[in-house]
Point group: C2
Chain length 338, copies 2
């Protein structure tokens, strides 16, 4: 009787944590995250250009083990629930990274299997793409808590998305669903990074905003705009934001136009899955209402009447600096729910 | 012991049937459907223009009761599992028909509640929109048997769609998901029946094909085409098909262009939910490869490389004449699975 009581207290003191890994084109961020979504310890390693996946997995495994050791120094009663990974072209069903254009590892990489071979004491290791991981993070720790149907768009170098239907992430038949950045917004329009034309990503990513700024410069010949002082390679979305805040008309118009494009795309996500809310995440969201207001307006303009004035467009409530790690770690919790 | 055995034999002889109701703008089709998807008895009543919902429900209930009686004459051991209804702007969660533009019943009609009041012996009465009902029919009795992720597009006067993710129909947060006919295909393009511009429905419905035919006549001034002999109000998609089969160049081009539009739209459904297959249903599909080939080509052209050459575009395997009734009746089976 006394023994059983002591075990129970011990169990309740155990802090449950997951490891989140976010693999980007140049940098891999790793963190130990508790079940409230707080990052206890974190680290960064280079995502290598050498293409040797085994070398990289060794480095990654060493970093994870080191972080777990450090986290246990802070709190000895840690229970490691698993490892969640967000990666470009991550296939949830197979645990693979497949033909990721911005990584040096070619072909189909059995990432989860390779990592499992280094962690025979950890059962739950799962992988999906970075935007899907962000959506799960939003569901577990962010603004989508309790929502069964929502969407998340991540705006950065590209545009990613994660869709949740009936409380589960939509992986589709092959593990790759949620590529809304590659829906066609303008038939025959701008060349997208994927090689096709007119995709949402070519208009609503940070580089897409830069392209819109130069398009406006060309159309208006506005040599007074501070944006006219930078080369095509120099100009970035932060400079457009700064100019807009200073009152530059052209920079403000970039936000208006970008929101117009984004609102059209978000409406089509509603016409597919009718989410309760769409969360927006990433650098351009730092502009707040500069981007949100025109997005909401175009969104409502494009919605079928049965959907008007009831679907929320909101910035993500995840902490921008840790969101990728936290989202990846949340994948473990979602796995353990099953 | 003997009693229990006799009850079991009796039970196995019972034929389980559902009633399917398809509410169209002018006609309501009703059928008693067995659990193999065969229609045992069917009837049609006018969808009234008088706007009196109670009168219509009385007529509908009388027709259903009459059909059940007739079906029982054929097979006395019928078990009525429930009533499934497909209706424009049907809300699955609430059992309501809401602001349907082509029906005379205005506002929000509590259709399921009204029908339940006439059938206190039938528990399972469910309603959704007609395209969703068709998708459930395809899943239960058609080409989507065993598929967990697929989409269905119904091409007719309008374009409807039903999406299935993880084995369940996507109803969204409000019961209205799956309105892919109203995604924007051509920004600023043709006026859609809903009042917005450039929607897929304005290009890929049967009237959309007619519009494309006249657009081509305008562009080419092809006075030799048999399509040039009909007024705008006379020309229909069947005439375009007949002309195409006879070798008319312009009519063939209408199918090429329509397939091009449709392929673009279907690709964006893949970029959202990554279905295993997309089923196409409706009048224009009678043209077979005339419409399927250009659709498949444009579809592949618009897909992100991870999705290419693996997603099937197929005609529905439901019997065209009975599909709406059968789909609506299948909604009951799907309900009883829960």
């Amino acid at each position: 009787m006394r023994f059983s009581l002591s075990v129970k207290i011990k169990f309740e003191q155990m802090k449950k944590v997951s490891v989140g890994v976010d693999i980007g084109g140049t940098n891999t961020a790793i963190g130990v995250v508790d079940d409230m979504g707080h990052v206890l310890t974190k680290d960064n390693i280079a995502t290598p250009i050498h293409g040797d996946i085994n070398l990289y997995i060794d480095e990654l495994a060493a970093s994870i083990k080191n972080l777990i050791t450090n986290a246990k120094l802070l709190n000895e009663d840690l229970e490691i629930l698993g490892i969640g990974i967000g990666a470009p072209n991550g296939n949830y069903y197979k645990g693979t990274i497949e033909h990721a254009p911005n990584l040096s590892f070619k072909g189909v990489v059995p990432f989860v299997d390779l990592l499992k071979a280094r962690f025979d004491d950890i059962e739950a290791i799962a992988l999906t793409n970075d935007a899907n991981a962000a959506a799960i993070g939003e569901m577990m720790y962010g603004g989508a808590k309790g929502m069964k149907n929502f969407a998340m768009y991540t705006l950065g170098t590209g545009v990613g998305s994660g869709l949740v239907v009936n409380g589960d992430l939509v992986y589709g038949h092959d593990g790759f669903a949620g590529e809304c950045g590659h829906t066609t917004l303008i038939p025959g329009g701008r060349l997208c990074g994927c090689g096709a034309k007119g995709h949402l990503e070519a208009y609503c990513s940070a580089p897409g905003m830069k392209r819109t700024a130069f398009e406006l410069l060309v159309q208006t010949n506005d040599t007074e705009s501070p944006l006219a002082k930078h080369s095509y390679n120099e100009l970035n979305s932060k400079m457009i934001y700064d100019a807009a805040v200073e009152g530059d008309k052209l920079a403000n118009e970039v936000f208006e136009i970008t929101g117009g494009y984004l609102g059209q795309g978000l409406a089509d996500t509603v016409h597919h899955n009718s989410p309760e809310a769409i969360f927006l995440f990433g650098g351009p969201l730092a502009a707040g209402n500069l981007i949100l207001d025109p997005t909401k307006k175009a969104f409502e303009d494009h919605l079928l009447s049965i959907f008007k004035n009831k679907i929320k467009i909101m910035p993500s409530k995840l902490n921008a600096g840790d969101a990728a790690i936290v989202g990846a770690s949340a994948l473990v919790l979602k796995e353990l729910e099953k």
